[in-house]
């Protein structure tokens, strides 16, 4: 059976007050963008939800695309009938039989809502009339109003009824672009793409910065980060990726600092460079995939010492999460398999086997006197290569 319509319900947007229009317009735009290559599909936005006329397109496929658009809480597939009771009864039966072909259904319930209050029959009575019709025309199926296998929603509208059966869980959150811009430190590991995803889910526009140290880090490591940024692009629109040449800074750190502080100072350099890029790009915060205590750079002492060099907020969406939970999300959002490709990134270069887990600001500042900080930051910023992930045409794509 084919559904005529998808109905997208708003999550948190529905709770917004005066800003609500801004959020829903943005979401409407995102939905249309995602369906642009399907000309027959029509998107409409009445006050508190979005309606999609499928016009023959496959509802499952369209829903799958929209499941990852932030700001949508759930998606229901529906058919439309006129307001004739017999039509509504037949529609509900059709939905039940269609769903039954898909999965076993032993119990159901009908939930009627009359948005059109002038409709003469009360909702409760409609539930009974429609439910009885379904029972009469099926075998082995019962009504269960508490935990039904299938809830058939009947909405009585102005001059039509909408009957929905199949529902799809969607990602929730807020539409990308509603929360301003964040610059994400994207390493190529498992955590930072997840952090980026979480922030996108809260409406942030994410740009990414990656530190690359050729020839110590390879082209494959760089490609890995581009592939990760492409995954983020799928969830959150255009993503700009800034690739920073970091070899010079790393060599300077190796040559002029005691082993135990190399990691701490390297991180401070990264934040300094990121802050400059954030200013240029109009990002109001930095973001990392740090999780408290996971590695030496992520102890409170380390964060305290490293954070000293920037005034920008450093958002750490994963700070209180366990590694296994982060990995679960990485698998769900399809970044895990890219992240575990075995290429060394700059974070592990030239580092002692046991970096300091409890550095302090005083020592860090003293050691940094040996480094030409400003010159290194400037050189790194000047050498940045920016890739427009949403827009760049890949010569490989044309081959496939």
């Amino acid at each position: 059976m084919r559904y005529d319509q998808l109905v997208l319900s708003f999550g948190e947007i529905a709770l917004k007050g005066k800003n609500r229009q801004m959020f829903s317009d943005l979401l409407f735009h995102r939905v249309r963008e995602r369906l642009r290559d399907l000309p027959s599909v029509k998107v409409r936005m009445p006050y508190d939800h979005i309606e999609i006329d499928l016009n023959g397109a496959n509802g499952d496929e369209v829903a799958e695309r929209l499941r990852h658009v932030f700001g949508i809480q759930s998606i229901r597939a529906a058919i439309e009938t006129n307001l004739d009771l017999q039509e509504m009864q037949a529609g509900a039966l059709k939905v039940l039989l269609g769903e039954q072909a898909n999965r076993p259904i032993r119990t159901f319930k009908i939930s009627t809502k009359r948005k059109n209050k002038k409709y003469p029959t009360p909702s409760n009575e409609l539930n009974h009339l429609i439910g009885a019709h379904v029972l009469r025309n099926t075998e082995g199926i019962k009504v269960d109003v508490h935990h039904p296998d299938l809830e058939i929603k009947v909405e009585v509208l102005e001059n039509r009824a909408r009957i929905s059966g199949r529902t799809y869980e969607a990602a929730g959150g807020l539409p990308v672009g509603s929360a301003g811009k964040v610059l994400l430190l994207l390493s190529g590991g498992i955590d930072s793409p997840v952090a980026g995803y979480q922030l996108m889910r809260r409406g942030a526009t994410v740009e990414a910065i990656h530190f690359h140290s050729p020839p110590y880090t390879s082209d494959r490591a760089r490609q890995k980060v581009i592939d990760l940024a492409e995954k983020l692009h799928f969830y959150g629109g255009d993503v700009k990726l800034h690739i920073v040449p970091f070899t010079e800074a790393q060599l300077a750190i190796r040559d002029s600092l005691p082993e135990s502080y190399r990691m701490t100072i390297m991180r401070r350099m990264m934040l300094r460079i990121a802050e400059r890029v954030a200013e240029q790009r109009g990002a109001l915060a930095l973001a990392t995939g740090e999780s408290l205590g996971q590695v030496a750079s992520q102890t409170l002492e380390s964060m305290n010492t490293i954070n000293e060099v920037t005034n920008l907020p450093v958002l750490r969406p994963l700070i209180a999460m366990d590694k296994v939970d982060i990995m679960t999300i990485a698998k769900e959002i399809d970044t895990y398999d890219i992240s575990i490709r075995p290429y060394e990134d700059c974070c592990t270069l030239f580092l002692p086997r046991a970096p300091k887990t409890k550095p302090n600001r005083e020592h860090a500042n003293r050691f940094e006197k040996n480094l030409p900080i400003d010159a290194l930051v400037q050189a790194a910023v000047d050498g940045i290569e920016t890739i427009d992930i949403g827009r760049h045409e890949d010569s490989m794509d044309a081959l496939l």
């Binding site: 082209d219 494959r220 490609q223 398999d337 081959l399 496939l400």
Partner: protein, 380 residues
């Protein structure tokens, strides 16, 4: 030329050959080499795998590229036999498999495995109840061809998969070589553990294919070596062919959106026209068959003679499976359906692709009727 032997092989799309040439020239490095050229080749290989996974609606790590249907079937069947021999040595298949499966099972029988070959009904279909009855505690594999290559009959793989969902110790392999793009199949929903696809049946290059291996299945590899394709199929990756194949997958999948309905119309038209001809019986079932294969018996005429007669007019059809058509015996598939030996020897197969047009089919049908009466007159 009117080419109606698409189940034997298809003509590669020009774009597919372009990709082959460009990749062979510009991405010639070994994807395992550490340098930049190797990295580029590896990146392209990753992209190929990602695109193939997207088109099949499965995960990237569940795809290995093979040399085609024969390798896919052999890897799946023997890979399960060797990888799970501690679990049991019983396997179930059908009497209407492609030789690439059947011969693999025969080899395993010689090694001491126990294989049940299920009977088929008049239409070439096995029954789910028979599968159920054949299952034993030591059954490690059920292997079924989705769309029969000679008849076009569709096997009830979804129902079999459903049955096997309750038996995690029995794996399920589907030979989807003829079905891919013509008869939609959702691997996860159908409970499939292993699925074989071939490139040259969908306008891709020869020597390409995919074996889908569901996450968690532990195959014993047939080709040991450098550990390519997740260690399941060693050998330097044939990147030009893989890229060309993946492009053909995309193009054919796109064609299928409207193409399946069009094919269905064409094959209905052929069926209707052939059924009106005296002395012609259509062997392909009316219901539950793929839209691109039509098998028919031309009574009183040896199939070869008729094929050569049509070929004089630039029309190409075939006898039974191309892989066994040079043997003089009657088709084992048709005999298994209970079609008499004489009628089986006189069977021809017409197989379509999304490229065939209604005009071609009309011309083919006119020529078919004319040649038929010419040959019959000559014999009288």
């Amino acid at each position: 030329m009117i080419y109606l032997d698409n189940s034997a092989t298809t003509k590669p799309y020009p774009e597919v050959l372009d990709t082959y040439k460009t990749v062979a020239e510009e991405y010639f490095a070994n994807p395992s080499s550490l340098h930049k050229l190797g990295g580029r080749a590896e990146a392209l290989l990753n992209k190929c795998r990602a695109q193939a996974a997207r088109l099949l609606n499965v995960k990237e790590q569940e795809i290995i590229f093979t040399s085609g249907g024969t390798e896919g079937n052999n890897t799946a069947i023997k890979g399960v036999a060797f990888g799970y021999r501690q679990r049991g040595k019983h396997m179930i298949t059908t009497k209407v498999e492609h030789p690439a499966s059947r011969a693999a099972f025969e080899q395993l029988e010689a090694l001491g495995y126990d294989v049940t070959y299920l009977d088929v009904d008049r239409e070439g279909r096995i029954s789910v109840d028979d599968v159920k009855r054949a299952l034993r505690d030591d059954t490690i594999l059920v292997s079924v061809i989705h769309v029969n290559n000679e008849l076009g009959t569709i096997q009830p793989v979804e129902e079999i998969g459903n049955l096997l969902k309750e038996r995690p110790k029995t794996l399920f392999h589907v030979d989807h070589v003829q079905g891919f793009t013509k008869v939609p199949l959702d691997f996860y929903e159908a409970g499939i553990d292993l699925c074989t696809i071939s490139g040259h049946k969908i306008h891709g290059p020869r020597g390409t294919g995919i074996l889908f291996i569901r996450e968690g299945v532990q195959l014993s590899p047939l080709l040991a070596g450098g550990g390519q394709e997740h260690g399941l199929r060693s050998g330097t990756e044939n990147l030009p062919a893989i890229a060309a194949f993946v492009r053909a997958m995309r193009m054919t999948t796109e064609r299928a959106r409207t193409g399946i309905a069009a094919l269905d119309k064409l094959s209905k038209r052929i069926r209707q026209a052939l059924e009106e001809l005296p002395g012609v019986t259509v062997n392909t079932p009316k219901q539950g068959a793929a839209p691109h294969i039509l098998n028919a018996t031309v009574h009183g005429l040896r199939a070869e003679v008729f094929i050569h007669a049509l070929e004089e007019e630039g029309i190409y059809i075939s006898t039974k499976s191309a892989c066994s058509s040079k043997e003089s015996e009657a088709s084992a598939v048709l005999l298994a359906c209970g079609i008499p030996e004489e009628a089986a020897r006189q069977a021809v197969r017409i197989s379509l692709s999304f490229e065939n047009t209604p005009e071609e089919i009309e011309r083919f049908l006119q020529t078919f009727a004319r040649k038929l009466s010419e040959l019959k007159n000559a014999m009288e």
